[in-house]
């Protein structure tokens, strides 16, 4: 099985500025703090590079930190056991991010339904609708709000790719985001 949703075509070439972080499965474990420290680290490195191309360092740094943090928080919250990889690249003013993690097959139908909504509705309308629904229902998980802020507030273009893991069992989810830094 291999399925793609949203904008999965990434344009930054192999010769561009790129950096990856891999959390290997094992004794390291997953902690919430890893999302914050990793996003700060990557934001600092990529924004320093972007400033060399004349982009505003503080704006680029913040946008990258927010983007990486949101996707990595999701991965930490919802992943099945396995490596979690964060890939960042920068070419001209385009920042591209991919977060790759394992996901339980049982989670896929629910996630695909959410993605269907995220990719077919206006993100601004859907964001307000979700916030209202979440405020009205204490048990609501507010799922998708983070992605909606990325799409609506930051103009991020999102993509999702599902594929079978080579070892069977869980599936591989690649969540992608592309952002024009200005």
């Amino acid at each position: 099985m291999s399925m793609s949703f949203g904008e999965t075509a990434q344009t930054n070439g192999t010769d561009c500025f790129a950096i990856s972080v891999v959390f290997k499965e094992g004794k390291l474990g997953r902690s919430w703090k890893q999302a914050g420290t990793t996003s700060e680290f990557l934001g600092e490195i990529v924004a320093t590079q972007s400033a060399r191309s004349g982009l505003v360092y503080s704006e680029a740094r913040h946008a990258i930190i927010y983007l990486v943090n949101e996707l990595l928080e999701n991965a930490i919250k919802f992943c099945s056991p396995g490596d979690v990889e964060v890939r960042c690249s920068l070419a001209n003013s385009t920042f591209e991010l991919a977060v790759i993690n394992m996901i339980s097959p049982e989670r896929i139908p629910g996630l695909q339904m959410l993605i269907e909504e995220l990719t077919t509705r206006d993100p601004g309308d859907l964001l307000l609708e979700r916030i209202e629904a979440n405020a009205a229902d204490e048990t609501s998980s507010a799922s998708g709000l983070g992605i909606l802020t990325l799409m609506n507030d930051y103009g991020a273009r999102m993509g999702w790719h599902f594929s079978d893991a080579p070892t069977g069992g869980a599936s591989v989810l690649r969540t992608q985001a592309s952002l024009s830094l200005t």
Binding site: W32, A35, G36, S58, E59, H62, A63, I65, Y66, N69, E70, E73, K77, L127, L128, I131, E132, N134, A135, S141, A142, L145, G146, T149, N152, D153, Y154
Partner: protein
């Protein structure tokens, strides 16, 4: 009344709620303590309530949802003026705070 940790501080002065630092807690439940603190100000029914975010460097989407949820609660009190203070120095504020005005037309948003 205040919540102070190494990463973030939240405290109340009259009907002004101040936020400082970096807030990236893990979800709605983790933000409950902060929401409860904010609600204590609302319960006093002041004529105006102010959220001072000018020192809040980072807020994750769960935290943005907390502000949105509180704004919806404030909407139920049309007699209460609401001011949200932000800073142009902190990029997330110009991007995400205008959503609060869409939820509650009475919010006066000041980003300097």
């Amino acid at each position: 009344m205040e919540i102070k940790t190494g990463e973030y501080n939240i405290w109340i002065e009259g009907a002004i709620i101040h936020y400082e630092g970096t807030l990236r807690l893990s979800g709605t439940d983790a933000y409950q303590e902060i929401l409860s603190l904010m609600q204590t100000v609302l319960e006093q029914q002041p004529p105006m309530i102010t959220l001072d975010l000018t020192q809040l460097e980072f807020l994750n989407s769960s935290g943005i949802n907390l502000l949105a949820k509180f704004t919806i609660e404030l909407r139920k009190h049309p007699e209460m003026a609401v001011k949200v203070l932000g800073s142009t120095r902190i990029p997330w504020q110009s991007k995400s705070l205008p959503n609060l005005q869409k939820l509650h037309k009475g919010v006066e948003l000041v980003i300097n």
